[in-house]
């Protein structure tokens, strides 16, 4: 148990006063020469059990009364968890989930899950952890920050709301790393989160290592301050696939607009929502009727009018439980040319790719495709290349070519590694070419291809690509950490997406997207290798999907998920519009909004940052899943309600005073003389 005035506990021995007084009183008895001892002995014999018990109870009540008074004066703290924790930790690490879903509010108090958690933790630190080292690790930056003033915890920029997602295993790993680095002693880790599956990533491979790390550290206690409740009155808006189209009627903005609502009657009732659309600062309100839980408008069109060839916009919903998902930002500009570079000395292959990549799929966009020989790599226009086909020996890491490829990927552009005919080269991105297999006489049999995502995914209307009709004669094996998209019967992968090295986390968007844009094709669009070129549909789709993945990187208007590195690499960033005014204080990339980079026309870039789509996923971890994630770890979970007035460490002196009053009442009741009618007068009874 913790006390705010533990010094007053020195007075606890005073609780023995009643016993001492009782003993003194017994010593101060008078002495009487007595004849009728037989009655005394009989009376003592009869009263031995009950009277002694009564006497003991009276003394106990008196001791309790004094003890509770001393305890009350020492200002004890309750909250179960604190008292169970048994003492103050040397270090208190606060892990704060700053994801957008933590902004769910209690409309009566105006407090969000995040602010409620901060208030609880600040109160806890003030009351119980004064003198402990306080370390804050927030989900948005994952940087350990030393906090000196617990009262200021809510006002720190590092605890402000963001539009990001959280990565709970990464946060815990950071905490463990911090403890290892600083050789912290007794440590309490307080993790405040809303238990969203999207943030906790139960499928992450990090959990196993975390579990063993945490379980092995006996001086570390983990407390989960969780807010698992889901919004009951909320609507969220998302915008995707924003494209500027030039039509005979003029410029239009086409986008996919989705409004998802959570209401008690969301499944059945219709609701008209006034949606505010802002375009380069001009606001209009359009009423949209939502039937059922979700309204999806694919190809929602906004007339841009003259003078709005480039710019930004936002869509806002009326205030509800979660203000963080009430806005979606978008930017638009002249579409960039989708430049494809094919580095190859194989004219058949290069020409097939060039033809596919140059074919237009969007009339408003220019497609260009260039073949460059392996000896002319220096001619590659890296900044303008959306997709690069590399059919050359893989460069060794550290070489200029490898560095350029790395930068190309880091910028989010696409890269497809094609097998060179002879020398495979070194290992890069974890990929190394192996041997060729197959010949024209014995076609390789396709066993399986990935239909839910990737280059060979089904079309939008769910129809599968005709991959099964392809014929493969030769393919080159490769090794590396890849996600197979097409497999042979023999189990070898022909087409794969390279899985990024290490855990993906918030702030690693670029590397993640880079990896998403890195593919390995084991076969070539040559008639002696495959029927890719002749069965052109699959090859065309694969090429353009890869090109689409890298096209955003060269676009002047990009839409990205908010994150620590979402705006890195963009100089002279300026916020055009933000979700909330106070977001200007946040670190770059953490707040949803529309941003502009650069000063001149050439280097001007527009970026829209929105919360990750996963933040709209309301699924929370159930207790069993949480138990499984933290199996073997000594942790305690405190489920809290957003905006509730309770405290993690509330003072309970009132309870002690009540206990004292009860003890005194009990003592008085025990001291009461027997009922008058039950009194025995031996003389009266004998007359």
């Amino acid at each position: 148990m913790s006390f705010l005035q533990p010094i007053l506990l020195i007075g606890l021995p005073l609780a023995l006063l009643p016993v001492i007084i009782h003993l003194i009183n017994q010593q101060r008895h008078r002495t009487v020469r007595w004849a009728a001892m037989m009655f005394l002995l009989d009376a003592k014999k009869m009263t031995k059990g009950l009277a002694r018990l009564r006497q003991i109870l009276i003394l106990t009540m008196r001791v309790l009364a004094v003890a509770t008074l001393v305890f009350a004066a020492s200002r004890p703290l309750a909250g179960g968890w604190i008292s169970l924790a048994g003492g103050k930790a040397d270090t208190l690490v606060v892990l704060l989930d700053r994801s957008a879903s933590m902004e769910q509010q209690n409309l009566e108090t105006g407090e969000s899950k995040r602010s409620t958690a901060l208030a609880r933790l600040a109160d806890l630190i003030e009351k119980t952890a004064s003198g402990s080292e306080i370390i804050l690790i927030d989900s948005a930056t994952l940087e350990p920050v030393k906090v000196t003033d617990a009262a200021a915890l809510r006002d720190l920029p590092a605890t402000a709301p963001t539009a990001t997602s959280a990565d709970v295993p990464a946060m815990l790993q950071k905490a463990v790393d911090f403890l290892v680095t600083n050789e912290s002693g007794r440590t309490d880790i307080w993790l405040a989160s809303d238990l969203r599956q999207n943030d906790w990533k139960p499928g992450s491979g990090q959990w196993q290592a975390l579990r063993s790390d945490l379980a092995a550290r006996k001086t570390v206690r983990l407390f989960l301050l969780t807010f698992p409740s889901v919004e009951s009155n909320n609507a969220a808006v998302t915008v995707s696939e924003v494209k500027r189209r030039r039509t005979p009627e003029g410029l239009r903005l086409v986008m996919d607009l989705a409004i998802r609502r959570q209401r008690p009657d969301a499944a059945t009732g219709d609701e008209t929502i006034p949606v505010e659309i802002t375009l380069n600062g001009t606001r209009t309100v359009e009423e949209m009727t939502v039937s059922g839980p979700e309204l999806v408008r694919l190809g929602h069109t906004i007339e841009l009018g003259s003078g709005n060839e480039r710019g930004w916009g936002r869509i806002d919903l009326p205030a509800d439980d979660n203000p963080a998902d009430n806005h979606a930002f978008f930017v638009f500009d002249e579409p960039a040319t989708r430049q494809t570079i094919i580095v190859s000395d194989d004219p058949l292959t290069a020409e097939a790719i060039r033809a596919a990549a140059a074919a237009s799929t969007d009339p408003g966009v220019t497609y260009e495709s260039t073949i460059i020989a392996t000896a002319d790599i220096a001619r590659i226009p890296w900044e303008e290349t959306a997709l690069l086909f590399w059919q050359a020996p893989l460069p060794a890491p550290g070489t200029p070519s490898a560095t350029l490829l790395q930068q190309h990927l880091t910028a989010g552009r696409g890269l497809v590694l094609l097998p060179p005919s002879d020398d495979g080269g070194a290992e890069i991105f974890g990929v190394k070419w192996g041997d060729w297999i197959g010949d024209e006489a014995n076609p390789l049999k396709i066993n399986w291809w990935r239909t839910e995502s990737g280059l060979l995914a089904n079309t939008r209307n769910g129809a599968p690509l005709s991959v099964g009709d392809l014929t493969l004669f030769r393919t080159r094996l490769y090794s590396g950490e890849t996600q197979s998209l097409l497999k042979l019967e023999s189990g070898e992968s022909v087409i794969s997406r390279v899985i990024p090295d290490g855990p993906s986390s918030e702030g690693e968007t670029d590397s993640a997207s880079a990896a998403n844009s890195l593919y390995v094709w084991g076969t070539l669009p040559r008639t002696d290798h495959s029927s890719l070129a002749t069965e052109g549909v699959v090859f065309f789709v694969m090429t353009h999907r890869a090109l689409e993945g890298g096209a955003d990187a060269v676009s002047r208007a990009r839409s990205r998920e908010a994150g620590k590195t979402a705006l890195s690499g963009y100089p002279k960033m300026e916020a055009l519009s933000l979700g909330r005014e106070s977001d200007t204080l946040l670190a770059p990339g953490l707040a949803a909004g529309a941003y502009a980079s650069g000063t001149g026309e050439d280097d001007r870039r527009l970026i829209a940052l929105n919360r990750p789509a996963g933040e709209d996923d309301t699924r929370v971890l159930n207790p069993e899943a949480l138990e499984n994630l933290l199996a073997g770890v000594d942790y305690r979970q405190i489920n809290d309600e957003v905006g509730s007035g309770s405290s993690l460490a509330s003072e309970i002196w009132r309870a002690f005073l009540i206990a004292m009053a009860l003890a005194l009442i009990a003592e008085a009741a025990l001291c009461l003389p027997p009922k008058p009618e039950a009194e025995i007068n031996p003389l009266k009874s004998m007359t």
Binding site: H29, R30, W34, A35, A36, M38, D42, K44, P682
Partner: protein
Amino acid sequence: MSRDSNRDFLDPTVLGKLLGLQLNARSPMMGNVSGRHRSPVRGSAIEFAQYRKYVQGDDTRRLDWRTWGRTDRYYIKEFEADTNLRLCLIVDTSGSMGYGEPGSTRLDYARRLSGTLAYLAGQQGDAIGLYSGSVGTYRETPPRRGPQHLGLVLDQIAALKADGETGLIQAMHEAAEKIRQRALIVIVSDFLFHPEPLREAFQHLRFRKHDVSVFHLLDRQEIEFTFDRPTRFIDLEGGASLLADPTLIQRRYHEAVKDYLETINDIVNHSAVDYHRTFLDEAYDQVLARFLMGRNPKTARTAR
């Protein structure tokens, strides 16, 4: 009687008041000399008793010639025989009899009662005996008449000391065995022991056709037990002392006293004992007056 410091338990004023009351037995007594008390045998007193037929061997001098003259039958005319009374005092001298303030202990009260009764009996010409003692110190003075013996008994009463455990039951049985003729036995005690043995002792005395009277001396504090703070009680009969909080045990104490008194009442009722519960704050002359008047057939109704 001279004022002797050893006999200060005798108050001349009280004696003067009580001399007018006669000490009677409730049943005929077997004295060895003529006296004021009825005898179970017929004698030649002036009070007519009955007629009975003459049988051979009867003293012809006792024939009622007038009846013979009228009826021509021989009848013997019998008269009551008056005899003296044997007063046997049994005084408990156990340690508990020493309860009370010096000069007004229970034993002092017993001295006054027994001494005054002895004096009254002596004045009536009755024989007086004294049996007393506690465990290990039994004393016996058989009943005799005469002033000299009265003086001896009074001296022995003056010399009584309260000490040790009670030997009253033993003294009662001894008296029952040794007093062969009918006597008035007056027992003065606090009876502060478990009372069941008394039943047998009383029955033993009644079996010997003695007239048994009892003065049960009690202090009101012993009954009411009105202490209000922890007290160490020291046993007057030498037992272990006891520290107790009277407020805690008062109720049980009263229950124990009630049971005890009910048992005593039951015993004396079944033994036909003339029982007098006496509190030490009562005037002993009034107690004795009530006792004496209760035994006088003429005043018995008003006394009770």
